[in-house]
């Protein structure tokens, strides 16, 4: 099992969800985050004082999947999330040792 962390633009969430569910992904968890990266923030003036907005609104979508789905899920997510402009974000892949479905107690691949 692997965990994918897709960090990307908030308004892409629906598209990504559509793309992945059509591949058979049946669960995902979304967190609102603020990102700092190559996409620079913007300078604003509030009551005459300049300030720098460094952290931009992003979402993190976490998906735990079987190893054999990895490739196509990444590909589909890249296609759905891409705008081609700086700030599109990243996908990180992590190893997962186990999963448990709380409701049933099932573990491993069956749990996701």
């Amino acid at each position: 099992m692997k965990k994918l962390e897709i960090i990307t633009r908030p308004f892409k969430v629906d598209e990504i969800k559509e793309a992945l569910t059509s591949l058979g992904v049946r669960g995902m968890t979304l967190t609102e985050v603020r990102g700092f990266g190559r996409q620079h923030g913007h300078k604003e003036v509030y009551r005459g004082a300049e300030y720098q907005v460094d952290f931009l609104s992003k979402v993190k979508i976490e998906i735990v999947i079987d190893d054999d789905m990895l490739e196509k899920v990444i590909d589909a997510a890249v296609v759905a999330a891409k705008t081609g402009k700086v700030g599109d974000g990243k996908i990180f892949v992590y190893p997962v040792e186990n999963a448990v479905r709380i409701r049933t107690g099932e573990t491993g691949d069956k749990a996701i």
Partner: protein
């Protein structure tokens, strides 16, 4: 006797000033209502727009609007002059008799100026979340300085619609439907917000960000409407006028109450839920509906007029959505469609009103405001553009137009959807 006339003058002036102040307070009501009904990323912009449009309305109407509306002119072409004149002399007042002034002219100006702002506020909500701030404010300059005063002249100013017997007590048509007509023109030119209508004709819900604000705004409007309608009797200092004002208060309140209750019931029946936003629109619809004639209906009739307003508004909102006319706060339905209903309902209680007169008024005011509004929107579009670009629309207008967020500490990413 002279002192009595002076005192009576003072009372009517005071009544006028307080009524005007209540209508000024309606500006806060529109602001809160609209700020509650848009998404958080567009909230600062709508706040700015509302307080600025009220300010602009006051200034423009002082410079030229009032003089157009209440100046000397033909039955169609109004006169033109600038700046409001002086007030009544004591001598004129205590002369007494039919022609003598019985309230301060400046208090009249104050009462009138807040009405213009109301008409303009209506537009603000309908074009929310996508129109450039300064384009909107430019439109406000023209509507409040010229467009509204012209049809105001035709009706309350004594022009040809007045002569045709058009009856519109406090302005269901002159203020509300007029604002809605200009709003409709703007909405058509602007096109819907991104994401409001799916490619397959699907209508997406875009919930407002702050329901307590929207509710507060409705209560403020409800309160302010006592000034709007109550002050439109124009006099309170004798028994008949006082009775009439009392009737106006009671009927205005009951129409709003009925509009609220029936919109809520209708939403429960149609959607299975008591949709608060529809209930709020229903209360306002009741208010708009009774505005054309709040002094003559009996209380039960006022309830019926309001209730129908509350029901009509729901169907109108759904209908406009089907036509892809994207009005985030329902302003066109509340003020326009229900405004027409209110004008027709005058026929049930006012024996002097005629079907012809009412239809003529509706037709002329709508045509004028929709036509000239459309022309002005198009000119502004040609000069400076009226719609913000797509990227900014996604990010929200607050950062791009005003450089600040409404709730900088609260909203995470959902705000930037």
């Amino acid at each position: 006797m002279e002192q009595l006339l002076e005192l009576s003058y003072a009372l009517d002036t005071f009544y006028f000033l307080l009524s005007g102040m209540l209508v000024m307070w309606m500006a806060a009501g529109f602001t809160m209502l609209e700020a509650g009904m848009v998404r958080s990323k567009n909230t600062v912009e709508i706040l700015t727009k509302n307080i600025a449009l009220y300010s602009i309305a006051c200034i423009m109407y002082m410079i030229v609007g009032y003089n157009i509306m209440y100046g000397e002119g033909g039955s169609v072409i109004p006169g033109i002059s600038f700046f409001v004149g002086g007030d009544n002399s004591v001598a004129d007042v205590v002369a007494g008799g039919d022609g003598a002034p019985y309230y301060s002219d400046i208090s009249d100006f104050f009462f009138q100026v807040v009405f213009v702002a109301t008409a303009m506020s209506i537009i603000s909500g309908a074009v929310a979340e996508r129109m450039k701030l300064w384009a909107f404010l430019l439109f406000a300059v023209i509507l409040t300085g010229v467009l509204y005063p012209v049809h105001g002249y035709w009706t309350w100013g004594g022009g040809f619609l007045d002569e045709l017997g058009y009856a519109d007590y406090a302005g269901s048509g002159i203020v509300h439907m007029a604002g809605a007509a200009a709003a409709l023109a703007g909405v058509i030119i602007l096109a819907p917000r991104k994401g409001k209508y799916g490619p397959d004709g699907k209508i997406n819900a875009i919930p407002g960000a702050n329901m307590p604000l929207a509710t507060l705004g409705t209560f403020i409007l409800w309160m302010g409407w006592f000034g709007f309608n109550g002050g439109s009797e124009l006099k309170i200092s004798d028994v008949e006028s006082a009775n009439a004002v009392a009737m106006v208060f009671a009927n205005t309140n009951l129409a709003a109450a009925s509009g609220m209750v029936f919109a809520l019931i209708t939403s429960q029946i149609m959607f299975g839920k008591a949709d608060l936003s529809m209930g709020l629109n229903g209360a306002l619809a009741g208010l708009v509906a009774i505005t054309a004639e709040p002094s003559l209906p009996s209380m039960p009739l006022a309830c019926i007029i309001g209730a129908l307003g509350g029901i009509i508004v729901i169907f109108s909102i759904i209908g406009l959505d089907k036509l892809k006319i994207d009005d985030p706060v329902g302003a066109i339905s509340v003020h326009g469609v229900v405004g027409v209903w209110g004008l027709m309902a005058v026929l049930f209680s006012n024996p002097d009103a005629t079907l012809f007169g009412q239809l003529a008024g509706i037709g002329v005011i709508f045509a004028w405001m929709f036509g000239t509004g459309m022309a002005v929107w198009l000119i502004i579009k040609a000069i400076m553009g009226i719609r913000i670009d797509e990227e900014k629309e996604y990010q929200g207008m607050d950062m791009s137009e005003c450089g600040m967020e409404a709730y900088p500490e609260f909203v995470g990413t959902k705000g930037s959807r």
